[in-house]
Amino acid sequence: MLLLLAAGCRPDFGPSLSRVTAARVAAVRFEPAEAAPGASVTATAFVVAPGGATAPALDWSLCVTPKPTTVNDVVDPACLQPGGTTALSSTAAPEMLTLPAMGCRLFGPDTPPQMAGEPPLQSRAPDVTGGYYQPVRADLDGAPTIALARIRCALAGASFEVASEYAATYLSNRNPTLTPVAAYASDGTAVALDAIAAGSVVTLAVGWTDDSPESFPVLDPLAQLLVTHREAMTVSWLADGGEIGATNTGRGEDDPALFTTTTWTAPPTPGTTHLFVVLHDSRGGVDFATWDLIVK
């Protein structure tokens, strides 16, 4: 059999998302990580930029337009349009905001009371972790960023017994906690972060505390049972120099390891590269930190 098969080609779009070339919002942490509608939360933005993390003024606003079922995005496109949100403030400091009291009706499973002669409305389905989110918009110099604050809503579509069990056992999400980054050479030996050889390839490892991946119940609507899941952990690696191997790495919910790794190719010349690490849990919890990588 003679085979002349040239594989299909996909264009190369250049540097990956991991290279920080301009200031942008990389993450927003809400404290508490999950709250009931009407509660106050503190939103802290992690703005990365060449030269290190910064704290510029951001334009904060709340999205109050629920998205149609036809939209695959996390928010309705109207939230990205002028006038599509409820403005809060423009501040560089952590933003104290009050979650809309109607959050579970706008973005959760609650539906308006059934009107006479009208059919009841369908409850909105949660995400894979059983959660619902209030979109919060944080614009940096006009570039929009959407952060999702997890809101605590009632369990929809469950029997009374299951809903009662859920209310008794479900614990609101908490933000995870990063542990320090470490670097290793190709032979596995530890490399000090302030003594990385120029042009060398090192493995960067970052971990999280053992209480970071939390267990939580999720409703199986067909079986009418609560199934216990464990949070998956994802790390985003960003840097203003060198080249990151994999931008996002992590551990699935069935993987008990408490760390993840990526590779980093140091620049060919000595200097300082700022490494930005964002840790996500699968219920929207966030932690972030910056480390300096000094190349010699």
Partner: protein, 768 residues
């Protein structure tokens, strides 16, 4: 003397003129049905006269000065069984006809009554291709059913999909039937190979629209696969292999009994997986398939036959994109199996023809996708059964009446898990690489659809005009186990309803000239909702059958004996199409609403050359538009449908010389519409950018152009065995056709994924 001589000349002239006024000319060609090769030495006799002719080396015959009026022509192939056909010889005119004759083996008792080609058609606008011509089309890799993709009116599908898009209709709107029974798919997943072994296919034809009352449950086109007649006596076989797969067929016939078994198994995924790179492998699926068939027939009495057919096809597709983060893994798993058992009874007696085909089947499909943490599962297991029966009888000299019933019963078990937007449907605003919505809903539905459709049609021949009015009445029963999505432990409430659909149809054929015919057809068409759409959580149990009103008209001209041309215009109006509810919180059980309307319109030209000194082929061009409007009562405007392909040009040519045949195929097609990404925002929870879209379907993938070549040599080993060697090279000019748009991770840059630049398939086939 002069005056008497002149009188004699005038008398002779008058006699000649009188003879001409009462005589006409009839010529034609007689071809073998399965291969369309000329039949030489066929004795053609005008029954009741002394007139006879014998077909020459091109299969042609001619009668000059034949008595005008209706006649029965008897066609007697050498060593075969004679067949009879009714013809009309028009005084003072020349008529050219074309016969396809199934030549029964000596000793066989089955006699085929060859009707006029029009009666064998599902509609007046139909293109049919015999198996041997179809399999030699360049780019088809020796698969005759793949020729459907090259017929006029069929869009060029995106690589790896195998979708049949006819006159802008959604693939699900076009029906495929085998010997009259619906068959779920013409092509295996990926579109590499058809689902029925070529050895069981006599002919494939496409009616893009305007089909008669015998057919329904479709808003688009109709693809008919005609199974082969009983094989010749003795043991015969067909064993082949190429880059894609291997197949085998074995037949045995003796006396009244004949049986054929066939099977195929693919290995493309194992071979190609060695060389296809990561990104391309994620976009261009490499499926695995197999199919197997059995066909047994027994001649009960003269003009009476029973045929049992079993069809089976399996598909499997695995695709996984590695992104380094196990929580962002993308994987697709698709499995599909289809089985049909048909028992067809055919009889001709006392001027009437009867066909009765009860059938049973099972279809299973399973899609399991993972988009990072979000699952998407859709399974459908359906038991189907039904009956097709038709009674056709000539009433007098000008009327042929047909009455029958077309019944289909489907019991489906549908389970779904994932976003409401999965799977994507026509009208969804999506882009390649975008994850689905993060909502996860679930459903477990049992749906029952029953359609009882009696039909009647009448062919009325009034001189050169044949009118075919018809009427089809579909009585639908829809049932389900959930009228609303179940909540908690509340007992499920089922639902049941009847719907009626009355579909008048009309076709006209006017033989305006011995070489020119004007054809037209139109009517109403209904299509029941897909069982997957009748669930309460993901669909709407109250969906009604969708509806289309269609009209087509055209001119057919036989330019020469072997060159014909057809020009056709079409217009199709659709309404009550299911679309997604635009509401953030739709009422219960209304994730789908029935607001959609659509329209398709255009024209096509087909110039076709029957074999002439070894040359044959066709040139087809289709130009048209397919548009949709999702919510006319709201603000939605007309837009191009996802299946709109404005221009489709196909040139197929073949030259056969002794044991060689060479073929070429040239295709040019407009790209499908796409919705542009005009902006983006960063989603911090998922650490990704999400797209913002512009006007729906306002840009297009670049045009597709491709040239394919084929060469075959048939080596005759013995009188019984032939070895065919072929090479089929697709895209010989290394055209880098764009198949899909792709964007950078921040959606600021757009490029295109190109398909497989060149593919050479070398194969061999042994026939004995």
């Amino acid at each position: 003397m002069f005056r008497s001589g002149a009188a004699l000349a005038c008398l002779a002239f008058a006699a000649t003129a009188y003879a001409q006024a009462s005589t006409g000319e009839l010529s034609g060609v007689v071809l073998e049905r399965a291969t369309e090769r000329p039949l030489v030495g066929v004795v053609v006799t005008i029954a009741g006269t002394e007139r006879s002719a014998i077909t020459d080396e091109d299969g042609r015959f001619r009668f000059s000065g034949a008595p005008a009026g209706p006649h029965a022509l008897v066609l007697a192939p050498p060593g075969g069984v004679a067949v009879t056909v009714d013809e009309q010889i028009v005084a003072g005119r020349h008529r050219d006809v074309r016969y396809l004759v199934a030549v029964a083996a000596p000793g066989g008792t089955y006699e085929s009554t060859v009707r006029a080609p029009r009666v064998e058609r599902a509609g007046v606008i139909e293109t049919g291709v015999a198996r041997e011509e179809a399999r030699r089309v360049a780019g088809a890799a020796d698969d005759p059913l793949k020729v459907v993709e090259d017929l006029p009116g069929v869009a060029r599908a995106t690589v790896g999909t195998g979708e049949i898009i006819v006159w802008g209709a959604a693939p699900a709107d076009t029906r495929v039937v085998f010997d009259g029974v619906e068959w779920p798919a013409l092509l295996h997943v990926g579109g590499w190979r058809s689902t029925v072994n070529a050895g069981l296919v006599a002919r494939v034809s496409l009616t893009p629209g305007g089909f008669g009352a015998e057919w329904g449950r479709a808003l688009g086109g109709l693809v008919r696969i005609e199974g082969t007649p009983p094989p010749p006596a003795g043991v015969h076989g067909d064993i082949g292999a190429d880059l894609l797969d291997g197949s085998a067929l074995l037949s045995y016939a003796h006396g009244r009994f004949a049986i054929t078994v066939a099977g195929r198994y693919s290995w493309l995924d194992q071979l190609a997986g060695l060389v296809v790179r990561g990104d391309a492998a994620a976009f261009i699926p490499l499926p695995r398939w197999d199919d197997y068939q059995l066909r047994a027939s027994v001649a009960l009495r003269k003009h009476e036959r029973l045929t049992l057919t079993f069809l089976a096809a399996d598909d499997e597709l695995r695709r996984q994109a590695s992104v380094g983060d196990p929580t962002a893994l993308r994987s697709d798993r698709f499995d599909r199996s289809s089985y049909r058992l048909l028992l067809r009874y055919e009889a001709e007696r006392d001027g009437a023809a009867v066909e009765v085909t009860p059938f049973f089947g099972y279809d299973s499909s399973r899609t399991v996708d993972q988009y990072g943490p979000s699952p998407a599962k859709l399974t459908n297991q359906s038991f189907v059964g039904g009956l097709r029966a038709a009674y056709r009888r000539r009433l007098g000299r000008v009327v042929v009446a047909t009455a029958g019933i077309d019944a289909l019963d489907t019991h489906a078990h549908v389970t779904r898990l994932g976003s409401l937007t999965i799977p994507a449907r026509e009208g969804d605003i999506t882009v390649f690489g975008q994850p689905p919505g993060d909502d996860v809903a679930a459903a477990d539905d049992r749906i029952h659809e029953l359609d009882l459709a009696p039909f009647v049609s009448v062919d009325v021949r009034l001189g050169p005009v044949t009118l075919t009015p018809g009427l089809r009445v579909d009585a639908f029963l829809f049932e389900g186990n959930h009228v609303v999505p179940p909540v908690g432990n509340q007992p499920a409430t089922g639902w049941s309803r009847f719907e009626w659909a009355v579909d008048p149809r009309l076709a006209l054929r006017w033989q305006a000239h011995p070489r020119v015919a004007v054809v037209a057809a139109g009517g109403l068409y209904h299509q029941p909702p897909d069982p997957n759409d009748l669930g309460a959580r993901f669909g709407n149990p109250a969906l009604d059958p969708s509806r289309a009103a269609m009209v087509t008209a055209g001119v057919e001209a036989r330019l020469w004996a072997t060159l014909s041309a057809e020009a056709t215009g079409f217009y199709r109006q659709l309404d009550t199409l299911p679309t997604r509810s635009p509401l953030p919180s739709p009422p219960m059980a209304t994730a789908l609403v029935q607001d959609g309307i659509g329209r398709s319109y255009g024209a096509q030209l087909l110039v076709r050359a029957a074999p002439w000194h070894g040359l044959s082929g066709w040139l087809s061009y289709t130009g048209g538009r397919s548009e949709r409007r999702d919510h006319p009562m709201a603000t939605s405007a007309w837009r191009a449908s996802d299946y709109d392909q404005t221009h489709i040009l196909t040139l197929v040519a073949e030259y056969a010389f002794r044991h060689w045949s060479f073929g070429t195929r040239l295709r040019w097609a407009t790209g499908f519409p796409r919705t542009p990404v005009v902006g983006a925002y960063f989603d911090t929870r998922d650490a990704r950018y999400d797209p913002l879209f512009g006007a729906q379907n306002s840009i297009r993938i670049p045009d597709f152009v491709q040239l394919d070549l084929r060469a075959e040599y048939a080596f005759v080993w013995t009188a019984r065995a032939t070895l065919r060697l072929y090479v089929d090279v697709q895209n010989v000019t290394y055209q880098k056709n764009a198949e899909e748009f792709v964007y950078s991770v921040d959606w600021t840059q757009r490029g295109a994924i190109t398909g497989l630049p060149t593919l050479a398939v070398i194969g061999a086939r042994v026939l004995f």
